[in-house]
């Protein structure tokens, strides 16, 4: 195998890791604050992709511009989901919480199938094939943009969480519901905000990958599975852990595709999950 092939896979993996980090950050934000593991998170990505696709198809809107529409739209969607589906089961047992989001995922996936059919759709943008060639390695610009966009959003989120009062309140609720109430924070509002933000980040991830990724009703499954692996590796609820873990997962997937075959990338990712469960059950950031 040539070095350039290896480097190519490595770079593809790193660039994809940005997107995985964005999806996993949203997942971890919802879990950290609301304490619900959102099995429908992949469908939020899928919705972001479809919104972007249709904005392009109907009005010729550029995918990056339509982020300005996709993100607020997904935010509102997340708020509604929290208000009407998650709020009633906040204190319910695991079974109710898990299967509520599983049910939501099944509904969203099949509403998409019903409305948009199972067709694979793609957005054609003029810069879709633009690339940098560095030696034997090609960097597709849409992938680079997606990576940079994801980093930018993750950075903005971190600033929001650490520097603003609302962000601090959000973290306070994540740390201790009762104490935050004593401090005058209304946790129910923070829940709405957390699920809204999580959905908006997932939608943004969807929008960012549309220039180089097919859109179809079940596209979310891959993302939610990878995001789960990322959050288990990086300890659920920790943003830095999610970033490091998505780097590992993104690179592992892309090297897995290179060495084991194009259909086994995910198997390698799950292999890492299994290995980590056996050797480091509390995650990369967790203390043993």
């Amino acid at each position: 195998m040539e070095l350039s092939t290896f480097l190519q896979a490595l770079i593809t993996g790193i660039l994809m890791a940005g997107i995985y980090a964005l999806v996993a950050t949203g997942l971890t934000l919802i879990f950290g604050v609301v304490r619900i593991v959102n099995f429908a998170h992949g469908e939020f990505v899928m919705l972001g992709m479809y919104v972007t696709f249709w904005l392009w198809k109907l009005w010729g809107l550029d995918p990056y511009v339509s982020l300005l529409i996709t993100m607020p739209l997904l935010f509102c969607f997340g708020v509604l989901i929290q208000r009407f589906l998650f709020q009633p089961i906040l204190r319910a047992p695991d079974l109710a919480q898990i299967f509520m989001t599983v049910g939501l995922s099944v509904i969203l996936m099949n509403v998409a199938l019903f409305l948009f059919t199972a067709d694979f759709r793609s957005v054609k943008v003029p810069y879709g094939e633009w690339a940098w060639r560095l030696g034997g390695v090609t960097v597709l610009l849409p992938r680079l943009f997606a990576f940079l966009g994801a980093l930018l959003l993750a950075g903005v989120l971190t600033l929001f969480l650490t520097k603003t009062d609302i962000g601090k309140a959000l973290r306070a609720v994540a740390q201790d519901r009762e104490v935050s109430m004593l401090l005058g924070i209304n946790p129910n509002r923070m829940y709405l905000l957390a699920v809204g933000l999580g959905a908006a980040l997932a939608g943004a991830a969807g929008g960012l990958i549309v220039p180089f990724f097919y859109v179809f009703p079940t596209v979310g499954v891959v993302f939610v599975l990878i995001a789960f692996v990322v959050v288990i590796l990086g300890t659920l609820g920790s943003v830095q852990g999610a970033l490091l873990a998505s780097l590992i997962v993104g690179v592992a997937e892309s090297l897995g595709i290179l060495f084991a075959g194009s259909d086994l990338g995910l198997v390698v990712v799950f292999g890492i999950l299994v290995a980590s469960l056996i050797f480091r059950p509390s995650g990369l950031m967790g203390s043993r």
């Binding site: 593991v37 079974l95 299967f99 099949n110 019903f114 999950l273 469960l277």
Partner: protein, 341 residues
């Protein structure tokens, strides 16, 4: 004990709680003859298969509260192992049935070893991941598994030794026996030491461990039982439909459907999955008939909607309704025979 039986038979009285179950059993036995055409028999067979699968899931996930969304892995393993043995070595499905179940049981050992390190949603995620990995591996190793096209059982006409029949009737009775078998196993387990351990673990694992229950061991045993029954279900399904493919047999969709059956009916109860299977299969088949499969995704939307509705308004499933209705019906019915003086 013998004294008790004697005392009862001396004053035998046909009370509703005795003859209603007997009549219901008789009804199940003649049911296929009452149905107007084979399509309805097919629906009833599917109901029985889901009773079996939901019941198998219920043993681990219902009683012990370990919510698996990877049970398709056991179903698929049973189906594939059996079908490969039948096709390559010409072994009778009546024998490969046990190999399929055993293979699923064997698979449950490493899966339990890995997944029982986790609790709650993490456990669920790990089960999804492992089943998904298995599905991708089955897709990948085409030489053995025939990839995405899946496997077919060659049709040999009416060959009872090959578990193949012209009519749907024999399938119905086999499915009924398997479903009844799963419910019987559940009943036995519920009354056993293991059953009590599982319920304790389901309520509070830490407390159960503090009482000296080896939770990992109990859960592993429940998983083995559950996986074995799931594997049997896979074998029967493969024989019944003649085709299996990786997405259908190993997919997340099947795992969700199986769990849904138990949840709608009522987890941690013997008859819950049976009620759930009948309700869900009824819903699915009627949406299919009414809409003639014109709209892709509609039936699964119904599934998802039912799941959300049940969790919002009936989180313990419909079992308790049925129980209440049943006791009320019993109270209306007359008793026959002599009463003891």
């Amino acid at each position: 004990m013998p004294a008790q039986i004697e005392a009862r038979s001396a004053s035998f009285r046909l009370t509703p709680d005795r003859y209603v179950p007997a009549l219901f059993l008789a009804f199940l036995l003649v049911l296929p003859y009452l149905l107007p055409n084979p399509f309805y028999v097919h629906i009833v067979v599917m109901m029985a298969i889901y009773v079996m699968l939901g019941g198998a899931w219920n043993i681990l996930s219902g009683y012990a509260g370990q919510l698996s969304l990877g049970h398709a892995a056991f179903f698929g393993t049973g189906a594939y192992v059996s079908t490969l043995l039948v096709n390559h070595y010409g072994i009778s499905p009546w024998i490969t049935l046990w190999f399929g179940g055993a293979a699923a049981l064997a698979l449950s050992l490493p899966i339990g070893f890995i997944c029982f390190r986790l609790q709650g949603p993490y456990f669920t995620i790990a089960t999804i991941g492992l089943a998904e990995a298995l599905r991708l591996l089955v897709l990948h190793f085409r030489e053995i598994t025939n990839g995405a096209q899946g496997l077919t059982v060659p049709f040999k006409g009416n060959a009872p030794w090959l578990l193949q029949f012209d009519s749907k009737m024999p399938y119905y009775y086999i499915a009924l026996a398997l479903a009844a078998g799963v419910l019987l196993v559940t009943w036995r387990m519920e009354r056993s030491r293991l059953g009590h351990y599982l319920v304790a673990i389901g309520q509070n694992q830490d407390a159960a461990e503090a009482l000296g229950i080896d939770s990992t061991r109990a859960k592993a045993r429940a998983l083995m039982l559950s996986a074995f029954l799931m594997g049997l279900g896979g074998v029967f399904y493969a024989q019944y439909t003649y085709v299996i493919d990786p997405d259908g047999a190993f997919g997340l969709g099947l795992s969700i459907q199986v769990a849904l059956v138990a949840i709608v009916g009522g987890v941690g109860t013997i008859l819950g999955p049976a009620i759930g299977a009948v309700i869900l299969e009824f819903f699915i088949q009627s949406t299919q008939i009414l809409l003639a499969g014109q709209y892709a995704g509609l039936e699964l939307m119904v599934y998802g909607g039912l799941l959300v509705a049940v969790i919002l308004w009936r989180p313990r499933g419909v079992y308790s309704w049925f129980e209440r209705m049943y006791t009320r019906i019993l109270s209306w019915l007359p008793s026959f025979g002599r009463t003891r003086a």
